[in-house]
Amino acid sequence: MDDIQATVKAYILGEFLPDADGDELTASTPLIAGGILDSLATVRLVTFLEAQYGIEVQAHEVNADNLDTLDLIAGLVRRKQAGGTGRG
């Protein structure tokens, strides 16, 4: 798990899963399909990513292709930092 994944994981555990066992949240846990990131949690996470990494996420990039797992979220952040765009 890289730095971005670890940071995002800590945020998700702290904000949305305060009672969860951190080991159960892996890089491939389905966050959207699994109901952890509902609409409210998703936009909060995006706000966090924008503030934490100085990136700007567009509305159409807020989807499972970019945010369903820690792995995908880290990928989105890296692409954004490199000046690219998210999927979708």
């Binding site: 159960e24 699994g34 609409s39 936009v43």
Partner: protein, 841 residues
């Protein structure tokens, strides 16, 4: 690597071992069992169990062995074949052709905004055709399916085209032409990116197995829906106590199982072709809050709204406070949902749905959803990574909250599906406080709380995506096939003596697709023509409406009846010399305002006159001049009975649409019939006589016409004129309909005798009525006691196919064939009764 990437790289489908072949066959066996059960229970459209399910079963077995890159094309071909099987070649080709044009417009090589304009222009053209401002080259049944395929998916597709730029070309056609969509009008709004992303994103056999689970769950929901539809759902007019209110509300809310069942089946079938679409409607009756319900019930709609409305609005308000963004975005979602519900109604049924109850429902949903969202924003929501049962206070708080939420939703649903706002208020006003009411209320809430408790103990509410594996106790053969199979067995004639009589009857009844009493009454009233009165996507009546025109018959030309006038005796009659098309039949009235040939007022010498009284099918609704049974009978009597009796026969058609026994009594008693000096007054009635009395009375109240004296005579002290809605009137009249019917028959018979005519009562069914029914003997006895000579023709249509006898598959008035059958039987009945065709010697 995801499967669609593998496809574009040209990778072959992974090879399967002998063990996997066995597993594939086991899955096929389960799909076969689904097919058997769907066919036996006759679930949904015959095209579902007769065409789509067999095609899916055979198709998926072939599809599995094909190379990955070929599979989408095979699925498309299978879907197009299914469309052709359901609609026929011409309509099927139009449907596919129109769809291809719409898809092609999305790819015209011009700037996106021009493409969008082109699509909007095409949609506008289609809307004009749907509204019948312009002629369309295909028949009406194509519209709901075309609408269902493109009305929302095209918006999603355009959105993705704009933002992602690239698509998976091979998956575009399968996305729009999905095989189950050939028969299911209510279809999940599947997201294109989800459709693409989840295609074979897991091992194929795991996806198929999941699909079988959804299909079995869907079939179970559909059978449960039938049971609720038949045995729980009641008419608003039947609600007279708190227990009745609970039955009405729970029954109405329970009818949504049909949509849930259809969605499960659709998504399950798509799994068989690798589309691992998300689970929807997961234990939605056990939602503990509005936002929880929104996340459980129709997640396809939730995702669609989130993508196209919620997120764009939220991001557009980026600099506002989080609360403002949440409230505005949530309200925008509800507002758009309300509007698109009407938009969906337009594409499926051809007219816009705007009603106060609809607006109130969505308005209240918006308020509750915003409140629930703000509550979660401040207090947080319990989310789980793994299936865990809550401990401490939460273990009992959640079931109670769930029971409260269920009660609130049932109440809102009741409002939504009530005919009018006033009706809903009047329903609530019937509340009583008896011991049985308390027991019923607590029983229902307790059952929901118990179900929620069990659900949380077994972690049934957790999303499947997080479940590690399916436990053996949850295997579809155990939780789906076994109970359905046992219920099917309970209805088998061979086991009739081995199972309780009531269970056997229920299991038999649930296999037939017919309207329940309430919706049959609505159909009889012609409510299907005013579809705002049809429950919102619940109930068979809506289904009847969407199938209003068969592809193998011409559309019914309809110009109306031309109006009514006073016959000079205070009764209504047709305007004279009307020449119109009514429900596909040429209809003319004579100078006397009768739908009939012309006759002299005074009968010519040696003429035997029969005045025929009754409702719309006596009038000859939907058949041409010369085809109503009384005219066919008249011709035959003059051809065959004349040589024997030496009399000419004239049958005068006094039939009027929705004529009730009370109105018939008024007409016969008023002197209108006496003018024509009939020898026989033949009153034709059917089992809907009590309903006709309510309809007739409501028509008079609505149009501020005087009420017949007979009503005041039978109902002294009942102020029916003050009824605010038809439902309230029905509730007032229900306890008295038998007395009204009895008195109407007495007055009619006495009036007929007073003018020197023989009163004859004929029980004549509509083609959709059963050959016998409870209450028939009592009605015939009532007519006999009133002084009528009685003819029982209730079984006249037995052995005939309804489709061959009715003017359309949404309007069960007899067609010309039906009228010929009636005339033939009536001829035989009258010939056997002395005094009906000639003077008694």
């Amino acid at each position: 690597m995801q499967a669609h990437d593998a496809m574009t790289a040209g990778a072959p489908a992974p090879r399967v071992s002998a063990g996997e072949v066995a597993r594939l066959l086991f899955i096929a066996l389960q799909v076969g069992l689904c097919l058997f059960l769907a066919r036996e229970f006759k679930l949904e459209h015959p095209g579902f169990w007769g065409i789509v399910l067999p095609l899916c079963l055979g198709g998926f077995l072939v599809h599995h062995w094909l190379p990955r890159r070929v599979q989408p094309w095979f699925f498309t071909a299978l879907s197009l074949f299914g469309i052709e099987r359901v609609f026929g070649l011409a309509d099927g080709a139009w449907l596919v052709g129109a769809g291809l044009v719409l898809i092609a417009l999305c790819h015209v090589p011009v700037a996106f905004r021009w493409r969008l304009l082109l699509v909007l222009a095409a949609a506008g053209l289609l809307m004009a055709m749907r509204a019948e401002w312009l002629a369309s080259p295909w028949s009406r049944p194509v519209w709901p399916i075309l609408g269902s395929m493109f009305m929302f998916r095209l918006a999603v597709y355009l959105y993705d085209l704009k933002h992602s730029g690239t698509t998976s070309p091979a998956l575009v056609l399968p996305y729009f032409f999905m095989l189950p969509n050939a028969v299911f009008v209510l279809f999940p709004v599947i997201d294109f990116q989800t459709f693409r992303r989840t295609w074979f994103d897991r091992p194929a056999l795991d996806i198929y197995a999941e699909g079988v689970r959804w299909i079995f769950r869907g079939l179970t929901h559909l059978v449960l829906y039938r049971l609720i539809y038949r045995y729980v759902a009641i008419s608003p007019a039947d609600v007279t106590s708190t227990a009745g209110i609970v039955q009405y509300l729970v029954g109405n809310y329970g009818l949504y199982l049909r949509v849930s069942g259809q969605f499960h089946v659709i998504v399950g079938l798509l799994h068989l072709f690798g589309f691992r679409l998300p689970e929807s409607h997961r234990f939605f009756y056990l939602a503990s809050s509005f936002s929880d319900l929104w996340r459980r019930i129709n997640i396809y709609w939730k995702d669609f709204m989130q993508k196209l409305v919620y997120l764009p609005v939220f991001f557009a308000l980026k600099r506002r406070s989080e609360t403002t963004k949440l409230v505005v975005a949530t309200l925008a979602v509800i507002g758009v949902t309300w509007f698109t519900h009407s938009y969906q109604w337009f594409w499926l049924l051809g007219t816009w749905l705007f009603s106060w109850t609809d607006a109130a429902f969505w308005g209240l949903m918006g308020v509750f959803l915003v409140a629930s969202t703000l509550f979660e924003q401040r207090r947080g929501r319990v989310r789980q990574l793994t299936s865990k049962s809550p401990k401490g206070g939460a273990s009992w708080r959640l079931p109670l909250q769930t029971a409260g939420m269920f009660a609130l939703m049932a109440l809102l649903w009741g409002l939504w599906t009530s005919p009018t706002f006033t009706d809903f208020v009047l329903i609530l006003r019937t509340a009583t406080l008896r011991a049985e009411d308390v027991v019923v209320v607590l029983g229902v809430l307790g059952a929901v709380a118990l179900a929620a408790f069990v659900s949380q103990r077994l972690s049934l509410g957790a999303p499947t995506a997080l479940a590690a594996r399916v436990r053996w106790q949850q295997h579809p053969l155990l939780v789906g096939a076994l109970p359905l199979g046992l219920f099917w067995l309970a209805g088998e004639p061979a086991l009739e003596r081995s199972v309780p009589e009531r269970l056997h009857a229920m299991a038999r009844k649930v296999r037939t697709e017919e309207l329940n009493t309430y919706e049959a009454e609505q159909l009889q009233r012609g409510y299907y023509e005013e579809i705002v009165g049809v429950s919102r996507f619940n109930g068979e009546l809506w289904e009847v409406y969407t199938r209003a025109d068969r592809k193998d018959q011409p559309e019914l030309e309809h110009e109306g009846l031309g109006g009514f006038q006073d016959d000079g005796y205070g009764n209504r009659c047709f305007l004279p010399f009307v020449n119109t098309m009514f429900k596909g039949g040429r209809l003319q009235t004579n100078r006397w305002g009768l739908r009939d040939r012309d006759y002299e007022l005074v009968p010519p010498e040696s003429t035997w006159r029969i005045a025929v009284m009754g409702p719309s099918y006596v009038m000859g609704s939907g058949v041409n001049n010369g085809e109503p049974f009384e005219q066919v009978l008249e011709d035959r009597l003059n051809a065959e009975w004349f040589p024997r009796a030496g009399l000419r026969y004239e049958l005068l058609n006094f039939g009027l649409p929705q004529a009730s026994p009370v109105e018939v009594a008024a007409i016969v008693g008023s002197g209108r019939v006496a003018e024509f000096q009939p020898d026989v007054v033949l009153v034709v009635g059917n089992r809907s006589a009590p309903l006709a009395i309510t309809n007739d009375t409501w028509r008079r109240i609505k149009f501020r016409q005087p009420l017949p004296a007979l009503l005041g005579e039978v109902l002294p002290g009942v102020d029916i004129g003050q009824a605010e809605t038809e439902t309230e009137l029905e509730r007032l009249l229900n306890p008295h309909t038998n007395a009204l019917l009895r008195r109407s028959l007495q007055v009619t018979a006495e009036a007929a005798r007073a003018l020197g005519a023989l009163p004859v009562y004929a029980l004549v069914p509509m083609p959709d009525e059963p050959p016998d029914y409870r209450g028939k003997a009592a009605l015939l006895a009532m007519a006999g006691e009133a002084g009528f000579t009685v003819i029982d023709m209730q079984d006249v249509f037995a052995g005939h196919d309804l489709a061959d006898l009715s003017i359309s598959n949404a309007d069960f008035h007899p067609n010309a064939s039906g009228h010929r059958i009636l005339a033939s039987r009536l001829y035989a009945e009258l010939a056997a009764l002395p005094g009906t065709l000639e003077p008694t010697r």
